[in-house]
Amino acid sequence: MKKFFGILAIAIAIGFAQSASAQKSATFNLKMTVDKYIEAMASPVDFNFGTTQHTILKAEELCGNIGSWNLAYANCPFSVTISGNNGANQGVPRFARQETGAHGGDWDILNTVYDINFTTNGVTSSFAGFLGYLGARDFPRTKNYGEAPHNGQIRMDMKAFVNTVANCLLDHGISIKGTLIDPNFKNSDSADAGEYTCSMVVTLAAL
């Protein structure tokens, strides 16, 4: 016990000696936090993919224009969710148009397939992953981007394939509207000429 108090006394003496021997420097540990922040471009955006062309496969097909947008700023990893709807209220971004005229009223609904890509940090990646393309039936769909865009920039580009025979299986269940002379055709077997629309919502969230 005596030994203990002896050592303790020496330790205290050394401690006081250090304190008294003038503090000669000060260290400052600085810390601050940059919050996660995402800002999306102004919307809604109107984009026209173009007009169909008649093909030898007897269909009006559209391999649409490519739309490209500086979609958002984000300083953190993020997720993208794409959803959509159409006039027929199908809950997916599939092109549709209501037939007009005295004998109309039904919806002409077109097989719709998308090629959507996001570019961050100079790398472009498909929203569909290894599939490459997505049928309208695959929406809503979410994909996570685990690395923050270090310059903050997120670019999105998109192309639509509408009523195309080559890709139609990706939006299966929606038949290709042919341009055939066939008395058995129902209203829904033919796509009336005109403008077809749908809406798409792209939502970004911080991870």
Partner: protein, 166 residues
């Protein structure tokens, strides 16, 4: 008993060292383009000092920064890291009331402070004095439009201010 003795010895010996380190937490940047400031007033640089002193700024990290490590895996995992820095400006004054003329610095970068020749001369050479510092640390992030970005996260820096006899 031996363990308690060792612990006491450790605490008593380290106490003066622990007391010298001070934390400054700057306000968060929650919107790009915002400025963040941290202030510490009247921090003690040295006590019971005698005679003139030279002051140097020693940096472990001058600009607030964070090291980001990311794992990328395909067939095998690759770990990459990079340092994200926010330009940091320092302002403040070193003073001892009634003993020395305050030394004031404003909006200095790490590099600018490193080359500053700061010397303090007490009015009364034989009288012990205490040297204080007021330190203001300021960082600004880029607004969204500038096409530059500061990644979200915690940023840190460490400065030591040392007094040297001359």
């Amino acid at each position: 008993m031996k363990k308690r003795m060792k612990l006491l010895l450790f605490l008593v010996l380290l106490m003066p060292l622990i007391c010298c380190s001070q934390d400054i937490v700057l306000s968060n940047i929650n919107i790009p383009g915002k400025t963040s400031v941290g202030v510490i007033n009247g921090a003690v640089l040295g006590e019971n000092l005698l005679g003139p002193k030279r002051i140097i700024f020693v940096w472990e990290q001058g600009d607030l920064q964070k090291i980001q490590t990311e794992k990328k895996s395909s067939k095998f995992t690759v770990e990459t890291s990079h340092v994200e820095k926010i330009p940091t400006l320092y302002s403040g004054r070193i003073f001892s009331p009634g003993i020395i003329e305050p030394f004031v610095f404003k909006d200095k970068t790490q590099e600018e402070l490193s080359i500053l020749e700061v010397k303090v001369f007490p009015i009364r050479l034989e009288e012990p004095y205490t040297l204080f510092i007021d330190l203001i640390v300021q960082v600004s992030s880029e607004p969204v439009k500038s096409n530059k970005s500061i990644d979200a996260g915690d940023y840190t820096a460490k400065i030591s201010i040392k007094l040297i006899e001359f």
